[in-house]
């Protein structure tokens, strides 16, 4: 007698349906409702898209813009910083040291997110050591904390390991013989990098961008600790609607909008990447045809 295959997965199915799918659907439902009076949090007897309209009024829209700016700039900075590091770890560091370096990348990743962000608050604080050093050297006191650049620094720091790891795995899979072959065939080092190594590492680049961009857009801790009023992000807006304003309908609409913005941005990025690489791919196909 063979039991159906999914039987063992039933407990996890039920758990995730009850505590993940159902709550998220409930939030979606709330987003079409409204806040009834001062003491109510939500009501759904009249359904409308009004909360979505409310969520993009100028006050809130600025925060969505700021979030998207930090999200895109932060992801690109992570990519630019992580690419050489991952390549160095996978191709230049002797194989026996790679395990240690990987472990070292994982240490910050597994250190409490809030605590390492507070570490930056200490570093950037006007009363902190860095600020004193700056003053001793003749600069004024450090005025970086509670600004948008501070948030950008914080998110780049917090999500950098999530970019390094997939890139490392991707570079590690590229056979060194392919780079050698490219050089043997007369390609210079830059051409090998852009023609062979990076295209082969593409899955890692895509994975890194997705892994960094999605949680970064929903970040609530980093802007709370480093951003203050000048570096607000959508995560804080959503949280304040649920915790202080007690307007669950509006908060729900903002949460749904946040997910839509993330999905749309990734969709547009994929389309752009496809368009930009189109000429390269066409040329490569042509070459193969000639040969």
């Amino acid at each position: 007698m063979r039991r159906p295959g999914w039987l063992l997965a039933v407990p996890a199915w039920v758990w995730l349906l009850v505590f993940f799918v159902a709550p998220v659907l409930q939030v979606l439902w709330f987003s079409f409702g409204y806040k009834p009076g001062i003491f109510g949090t939500h009501a759904n007897d009249v359904l409308s898209f009004d909360r979505y309209a409310e969520a993009v009024t100028p006050t809130f829209f600025a925060t969505f813009q700021n979030t998207l700016w930090v999200g895109i700039a932060g992801t690109l900075l992570c990519l630019v910083i992580a690419l050489p590091v991952a390549y160095w770890m996978a191709a230049k560091v002797p194989a026996r040291h790679r395990g240690v370096l990987l472990a070292l990348v994982l240490v910050p990743y597994w250190t409490n997110f809030l605590i390492r962000t507070i570490g930056w608050q200490i570093i950037l604080s006007p009363e902190g050591a860095l600020s004193h050093l700056g003053q001793a050297l003749g600069f004024g006191p450090l005025d970086l904390l509670y600004t948008r650049p501070a948030v950008l620094l914080g998110v780049v720091y917090n999500y950098l390991p999530l970019m390094i790891l997939p890139l490392y795995v991707a570079f590690d899979r590229v056979d060194p013989a392919l780079r050698e072959a490219s050089k043997d065939l007369g390609a210079d080092r830059l051409r090998t990098l852009f023609g062979v190594t990076l295209p082969l590492a593409q899955p890692g680049i895509i994975a890194g961008i997705v892994l960094v961009f999605i949680p970064l857009m929903g970040d609530y801790i980093t802007p709370t600790v480093l951003g203050g009023a000048r570096g607000m992000m959508v995560g804080q807006l959503v949280a304040s609607q649920f915790q202080t304003a007690q307007n669950w309908a509006l908060g729900a609409a903002m949460a749904v909008l946040l997910i839509l913005v993330i999905a749309a941005t990734l969709g547009i990025a994929a389309l752009l990447a496809w368009l930009v690489t189109l000429p390269f791919r066409a040329r490569r196909r042509l070459r193969l045809g000639e040969a």
Binding site: W15, V21, V169, P215, Y220, F242, A252, L258
Partner: protein
């Protein structure tokens, strides 16, 4: 000429690598150093002292929050590794059309921003606890365990599935051919095979739970505030060196758990690349 340029670029790469690693560790080192600050404010260094560490014993609010965190971590590790183990075994050994749907669900759970999970769970738990009259969902620890177990369940499922896919299914078939009933095959063959992955997954779940701040901040009930939420609220009232001191202790606990994971996976034959991928959350 060519070799000299190559050497220069290699040096540049190495320098960049070292700078980035220094960047990755800077705030952690700062927090560890700050735990020995004798001053009243975390951000302003006064002098060396061990006193901040005493807060773990002397301040009931801090002590209780650490205990709540440890309790929640242990229970959610058990829940997530049990659910994830069974799901991972089913995914590896009985794949089918259901598996595609299930993996889709696991992916959704892992990519959904935490803040969305958090604001979704809060009203849902209120609904279950008050509107449907199930008081268990008003219990602080139960709420935290539910919130912390979602992502961890997905992580354990990935790890167990990856481990079992790499092992020969004929081991279980041989056991069945030798007339072992399914239950005995499961207990004597499958379970020992997945044990290292489940242990690693449980420790990761424990660490994930200790770190969880966002979901915890929303679903927590006053009276069972976990450590990170205590820190988050201290952020508003002013951070003291004791926050850094207790964080340093928690950091050592987390890293200890990770080191055990590394050893367990190493002994079960994983290469460091695979381990790193596991530790990065599947």
């Amino acid at each position: 000429m060519g070799t000299r340029r190559r050497a220069a670029s290699d040096v540049a790469l190495t320098v960049w690598g070292v700078v980035v690693f220094a960047f990755l560790f800077a705030p952690i080192i700062v927090v560890v150093i700050s735990s020995f600050n004798s001053g009243r404010l975390l951000v302003a260094w006064q002098g060396f002292s061990l006193e901040p560490f005493a807060a773990l014993v002397s301040k009931p609010a801090i002590r209780d929050s650490v205990i709540v965190s440890l309790q929640t971590g242990a229970i959610s590790a058990v829940v997530a590794s049990l659910l994830g183990m069974l799901a991972g075994i089913a995914l590896a050994r009985r794949p089918g059309r259901w598996a595609a749907w299930f993996i889709g669900l696991l992916l959704l759970v892992s990519v959904t921003p935490e803040i969305v999970d958090a604001v979704a769970l809060l009203p849902w738990l209120v609904f279950l606890g008050q509107d449907l009259g199930m008081p268990v969902f008003s219990d602080g620890i139960v709420r935290l365990v539910i919130g912390h177990s979602l992502f961890s369940t997905a992580v354990v499922s990935y790890i167990v599935r990856a481990r079992l896919i790499g092992l020969d299914a004929r081991l279980e078939e041989a056991s069945a051919d030798l007339y072992a009933p399914p239950a005995r095959t499961f207990l004597r063959i499958t379970l020992p095979l997945v044990a290292p992955a489940v242990l690693a997954g449980a420790l990761l779940s424990f660490t994930l739970s200790l770190d969880n701040t966002v979901i915890a901040a929303f679903v927590q009930v006053s009276g069972s505030t976990p450590w990170p939420v205590y820190v988050l609220s201290a952020l508003r009232s002013g951070l003291r060196p004791e926050i850094a001191a207790v964080s340093t202790i928690m950091l050592i606990l987390s890293l200890g758990a990770l080191a055990v994971v590394w050893l367990v996976l190493r002994r079960s034959g994983d290469a460091s690349n695979q381990i790193a991928r596991t530790l990065a959350g599947g």
